[in-house]
């Protein structure tokens, strides 16, 4: 347990006492693995929260894996509560072994590229995963080395992307230390498919020599009464733009516009507003707020046809979207076939 305090960097990042994964996130990792023709690997994203303080009895025992390097202040005592990590998403990398080399050393630029293209904030990187078919569910020598490199690279999160305040505030300082190992096998007649997974957390060895991947239990978060606590700690993150809720008349807005025209700041602000409005409009599908107003009250019955119209439009939109997806999938498949053909030619398989 003292190992966490013995981090060579001296900042004593505590390791996670509890690791959970949302049901859909786990399902999508498994689905990705099952549909891939070969072994896969990728990054895991999520958030970190503090567990409620343990029983006071345990305070002197150090029963949780927290460092005592910063002991002495009350704030430190609170900060010593064990951390819990929740995996909410993953990024499966297109080519295998793309962000590390044969010796398990990270290739930082490609990792950074991958992390920033994932759409997840870099600060939410919790670890990585590896899926290899029909192989033992024990970390390999390289997986162990990659986990350690990932943990030890402090400037990993230093991306040039603008900080996303809404998420950053939720996250506590941590290092990516989770490793999820997946394996799958099928019976000869393809009747039974077995998917196995095991989570590991990296613990640095006391002597400062390397790290150990310790198997950990993985809580799967699903809908149900057993997971009510998850909902109370849930903080919604929406893809919708943040619209400031300001009550003002149209003429007031125009006046403001007139006054500040020329000021670069206001121009920026206006552009931003227009962009956000556009985003909102595209989401409503031509169903403005005024129309919505008419739906409430005694006159509502008269507008059912309008509602049906709305649904009709939505369906049309979905249909065209589905067609687009289908077309692009076909094109991707074609491209993948071409790539694997090229690759096998390059690697001398034919």
């Amino acid at each position: 347990m003292a190992a966490a305090a013995a981090t060579p960097d001296g900042d004593g990042h505590p390791h996670f006492s509890k690791i959970s994964i949302s049901g859909p996130a786990l399902a999508s990792v498994i689905e990705r693995f099952a549909s891939s023709p070969s072994d896969i690997d990728g990054l895991l994203f999520g958030h970190v929260s503090r567990l409620p303080p343990p029983d006071p009895r345990d305070d002197d025992g150090g029963g949780h894996g927290s460092p005592n390097s910063s002991a002495g202040s009350a704030a430190a005592a609170a900060a010593n509560n064990p951390l819990a990590a929740t995996i909410t998403g993953h990024l499966s990398l297109a080519s295998r072994a793309s962000f590390y080399d044969a010796l398990g050393r990270l290739i930082s630029p490609s990792l950074r590229n991958a992390a920033s293209s994932s759409g997840h904030p870099a600060a939410s990187l919790l670890g990585w995963f590896s899926g290899r078919r029909r192989s033992p569910l024990r970390p390999s020598m390289r997986e162990r080395a990659v986990s350690l490199s990932l943990f030890r690279t402090p400037d990993l999160l230093d991306t040039n992307a603008p900080p996303d305040r809404s998420l950053e505030s939720l996250d506590l300082p941590h290092r990516p230390s989770i490793f999820l190992l997946l394996s799958s096998s099928t019976t000869g007649n393809q009747a039974v498919h077995t998917h196995e997974y095991r989570a590991f957390a990296l613990r640095l060895r006391a002597g400062g020599g390397g790290g150990v991947l310790e198997p950990r239990s993985l809580d799967i978060v699903n809908v149900g009464p057993a997971f009510r606590a998850q909902y109370s700690s849930f903080s919604p993150v929406s893809a919708f733009p943040w619209m400031p809720c300001q009550l003002r008349g149209p003429e007031e807005g125009e006046r403001e516009m007139g006054n500040k025209r020329g000021g670069g700041e206001s121009l920026n602000r206006l552009q931003e507003l227009a962009r956000e409005q556009h985003l909102l409009d595209s989401s409503t599908g031509g169903f403005g707020a005024e129309t919505l107003e008419r739906l409430v009250g005694p006159a509502a019955t008269g507008y059912t046809s309008e509602l049906e119209d709305l649904y009709g439009k939505m369906l049309l939109k979905l249909e065209s979207l589905a067609r687009l997806v289908e077309e692009s999938s076909a094109r991707i498949l074609e491209q993948e076939g071409r790539i694997s053909e090229l690759r096998s030619r390059v690697e001398g398989l034919e």
Partner: protein
């Protein structure tokens, strides 16, 4: 039925099996992906400390240019080869066989296996060195400079631990001592010494278990089971024990090698009487087969010559060329040892005595064959 190994990987594996001085065993070959055209996973056993280290070498058939990964067995959970390489600094890392992996170079897998075995040897030494046992600390300090010594920590099911030393004995090259020898791997005779790890402060630590070990090839030259090891006295250490074992063993090995010459002369002495042998073991001269005839009855005589020849006599088996049992195999006599024999006779005399014995014995054997034929 698993598909064939990917050609690039097969080239590396074949190179390992053909050129490595270690006798690496392939346990299993299988494919990782569904409906794969080629297999890309191999389980190999690498000899270490008179035992084997088993590991899975995981390639990816769809990305054969990527260096393989290795999963060790759960007993070797603590073994962290890449961590050990990294802790030795950049110069060591750049020398690793995994650096600049080239899948088209067939010697790469062998280089990797040798490097991993080397790292594993250091890992086991470190583990034994960390034990809190005064006797083992002393043995490690005195014995480790000896060339070729290997040591490992063995965990037993009852949670106790043992330390196993494998000490190569005799500073002589058995492969060179045997004329025209065809052994592919360097042969050695090892002394295996297993010390129990004492956790308590017991005054008298238990004596270790001692055993001679060799490959089956050496056993065809020399039967190590017959070597009597001196007793391990109280308070003894390996440095005291080994010279006694080696002196004794050296005499017996020299004798065993001299015995090859005696056997060869014996086989050569057979030909004036029996004609040229149909078959003979030309290196160790342990077997010879001759064709004989008594009137119309023709039969083979197989000679099995023991390692202790001429102290021990050869065993004869007669095999008819004309009589077959119901399965269609030729009828053979039981092994014959009760014929006139003296270690002091010279080879021509020995051969003559055996010839005379067989002239009479073949009549009994003919009767035996006729009786044995199914009616």
């Amino acid at each position: 039925m698993e598909p064939p190994l990917l050609p690039l990987i097969a080239a590396q594996l074949n190179h390992l099996l053909a050129y490595s001085p270690l006798s690496v065993k392939v346990e299993q070959i299988w494919a990782g992906s569904r409906n794969a055209r080629f297999s890309d996973r191999i389980t190999i056993s690498i000899p270490f400390c008179l035992d084997y280290v088993k590991c899975d070498v995981i390639y990816d058939a769809l990305h054969p240019s990527v260096a393989p990964d290795v999963v060790f067995s759960s007993e070797d959970d603590d073994f962290d080869p890449l961590g050990d390489i990294a802790s030795e600094g950049e110069a060591r890392v750049s020398k690793s066989s995994l650096c600049d992996w080239n899948s088209k170079d067939p010697s790469r897998l062998m280089a990797l296996v040798h490097e991993l075995r080397d790292l594993y040897m250091h890992y086991q030494r470190r583990r034994v060195g960390e034990l809190d046992d005064a006797r083992l600390k002393f043995e490690m300090n005195t014995m480790l400079p000896r060339e070729g010594i290997e040591v490992c920590l063995v965990s037993l099911p009852d949670r106790s631990e043992e330390v196993k030393f494998a000490v190569p004995l005799l500073d002589m090259d058995l492969n060179k001592l045997v004329p025209a020898c065809t052994w592919r791997h360097q042969q050695k005779i090892y002394l295996q010494i297993i010390f129990p790890v004492s956790r308590s402060y017991s005054s008298a630590p238990a004596a270790p278990r001692v055993k001679l070990v060799s490959t089956s090839e050496v056993k065809t030259l020399f039967s190590i089971e017959d070597v009597k090891l001196p007793p391990w006295l109280d308070g003894m250490c390996m440095a005291e024990y080994l010279p006694a074992v080696e002196d004794n063993l050296k005499l017996q090995v020299v004798e065993a090698i001299a015995s090859i010459g005696a056997r060869r002369r014996f086989i050569e002495a057979l030909s004036p009487l029996f004609g040229r042998p149909l078959e003979a073991d030309p290196v160790l001269c342990r077997r010879a087969t001759v064709l004989c005839a008594s009137g119309a009855f023709t039969f083979l005589v197989h000679f099995s010559i023991p390692t202790q020849f001429p102290k021990q006599q050869p065993t004869l088996v007669m095999q008819s060329s004309q009589h077959f049992n119901s399965q269609g195999t030729p009828i053979s006599s039981p092994p014959i040892n009760d014929y006139p024999w003296s270690p002091r006779w010279d080879p021509p005399q020995t051969a003559e005595r055996i010839f005379e014995f067989l002239v009479d014995e073949c009549l009994n054997f003919k009767k035996f064959c006729i009786d044995a034929i199914p009616q």
